[in-house]
Symmetry: C2
Subunit: 397 residues, 2 copies
């Protein structure tokens, strides 16, 4: 019998508590022993919660209880979550976290503490929700040098883009719909400005490249500049638009960024709709792999948290948990230097775009759009001068 | 320094030897020590092989060398491979295998020996080539009851179907093209009759359900009945055709089978082309996940074999390696009892099909086709009497 403490009883924490009950036999078989949820730490009372008898308000109860071998952090943010995770690790407890902000910003420090205390810090749920991605990277693809990893990492923005591109909704209507359905928060900034995807691609880059890539060091462009006109124009050019987090190795440099991308309709990522996520990995032996599934949601995310709990209960680290160290800053190249083809939407007519960029432009009402030749963004911006350009996004090759 | 013996130097074995050299630093970092390929066992001399100095012909050299901690079996089949794997396990060595036939037919017995000898038998490469699937199932999805797993498990047949459906080639032309490109063997029976996919879905069913599902107990239908007419008719009905291995839990029974399936064009599996594979898992917490990548080929398969080598070198079993026991026979339900919608191609005209099945039929030359209501196959066959039916396949919902 392994005794667990859960921090937070919101969407993810509630899902973890539920799953530990509903799939108890399955989980015990995986862990080799029963998992008992002993404490749930909250900041206020939840008298109607089925787990109300387990609620505590003081972290030191958990910290000082030697029976607790694993703490599952489902609070979010880097305030209290950071304090409790650090204290739990220092108290010699394994920690499981679904908190992408915490891992992206403080992962390096916390993993070092975990290593020093010989306990594990696992965070499968922090990227891609229920999608298995971190263990596949560190274990199944361990024989590969990962040259590139990118994906649809934020379900909220993918839902909005799907509504815009498949159902001809405006950005504002799609956002309100996402809020009504609980996919977007009342303040949607972190999602639509790409910050959430930025944290996740930083974690993936940390793992793949072994260097700490701080979210504030990467270029992040969100989806607020995408309009109904883009949905029509991109479709005519044979593309859809997806918000991608992307990390790419280029000789001795790394590029990590978030941006809307033009995705050809022949690519699997173009078919990933609604709140689903998809992550593509390019390894130098395996070639291209794709991992697809629910990137958020109560039970899918809980599925990943509980998988980590099972692993944490099973045994101490086999030395293969992800780790990363300082030193990416000197390696990071600005993503705008990456040569690629670009989608350009402008008020200049099709003829003007064709004259400047070659190829064939398409037109819808007052806008025309074209796919350029391959070039870095600085060169593109020089060419765009005077064309009334309102949107440029890279094409995913 | 861990010393490895490799059995077989064909496509996969050659890829393993190459990868151990080309990605040596990456692999050593994963394993925590260098991996040295000490022996390669072959049945004949390979004087021009870059690893010719490591070749041995007598397995007892490997069996009796206490320095060898892991044996990688890349021979294939259940003859010599079975003998050597068994002897290696009994000699207390960890074994890694890419051999789906061996694992599907003798996996239960060999895993029992491995458990008894406290060594590991790993076989990530036996299903889906380089695609991470076995660890994701046993580790990342360990909190889930897997209710269904299915996928495109054979690259040769997917290549042939892609050529037929996207390039309008005949079956015979597509098969010859696959043989010319090295995707199909000169005797293509195991691929086109579905036997290879059958072995793989049995391994996945073994893992997900914990019961041994012998390949000879499952219903297997291959792709030889698919014609150019089906490519046209299925397309008009909004479907493509893929050969799927499928294992489904139905209350207390299991269905495991291989058959061509109609796949709606809105499903990700419909976009998996050429020799690529894709495996879909439905877990009761995570919902639907998909794993996509190269299902065969020299380096992709070697990527999975070497990942297993790294794991085998790292540590002895943590108790989470897959295992399965006898007892599926009483649980196995005939897949033809599974109610589903069906694609029916017949010489009777569209009007006759519509009269019998309802809905709207499509016609191309002498054939018409329709999608039926949901029913078990026995009921379907009664309805088909007298219609000149030449093909029926289930629709994947």
């Amino acid at each position: 019998m392994a005794k667990i403490a859960l921090l937070g009883i919101g969407t993810v924490g509630g899902g973890v508590a539920e799953l530990l009950c509903s799939n108890a036999a399955q989980i015990a078989a995986g862990a080799g022993e029963k998992l008992e949820l002993k404490y749930i730490m909250c900041s206020r009372a939840h008298p109607d919660n089925p787990f109300a008898d387990k609620i505590v308000y003081d972290f030191s109860v958990i910290e000082n209880d030697e029976e607790i071998s694993v703490v599952a952090e489902c609070i979010g943010g880097v305030g209290a979550a950071y304090e409790y995770v650090k204290r739990a690790l220092l108290a010699g407890k394994n920690v499981v976290s679904s908190n992408k902000e915490l891992i992206a910003e403080r992962g390096m420090e916390l993993l070092a503490i975990a290593a020093q205390k010989n306990v594990r810090l696992l965070f499968e749920a922090s990227v891609g929700g229920g999608i298995p991605i971190i263990r596949p990277l560190t274990q199944c693809l361990a024989a590969n040098r990962v040259d590139e990893i990118y994906g649809i990492l934020n379900g909220t923005t993918n839902y909005i883009l799907t509504q815009m591109f498949q159902c001809e909704q405006s950005f504002d209507t799609a956002l309100r719909e996402a809020q009504r359905l609980g996919y977007a928060e009342s303040d949607p900034t972190a999602d639509i400005e790409g910050l959430d995807a930025g944290r996740k691609i930083c974690i993936l880059a940390d793992i793949c490249f072994g260097r700490n890539v701080p979210p504030e060091k990467i270029r992040i462009r969100g989806i607020t500049g995408i309009t109904a006109a883009d949905a029509v124009l991109a479709g005519r050019l044979g593309f859809t638009v997806k918000l991608l987090g992307r990390a790419k190795r280029m000789e001795n440099r790394l590029t990590v960024y978030v941006s809307p991308h033009m995705i050809g309709e022949d690519k699997l990522l173009s078919g990933i709709s609604g709140v689903m996520n998809g992550i593509c990995v390019k390894g130098n032996a395996v070639g291209e792999c794709l991992f697809y599934g629910a990137g958020a949601g109560r039970l899918p995310t809980a599925s990943a948290v509980v998988a980590d709990l099972i692993d944490a209960v099973r045994h101490v680290s086999d030395g293969k948990d992800p780790r990363w160290v300082e030193g990416a800053n000197d390696l990071l190249a600005d993503s705008d230097e990456l040569p690629c083809r670009w989608y350009v939407r402008a008020k200049a007519g099709a003829a003007a775009l064709e004259r400047v960029f070659g190829g064939t432009a398409v037109t819808e009402n007052v806008y025309s759009a074209i796919i350029t030749q391959e070039m870095p963004r600085s060169e593109l911006e020089d060419l765009c001068a005077g064309l009334g350009v309102e949107a440029v996004w890279p094409v995913l090759e």
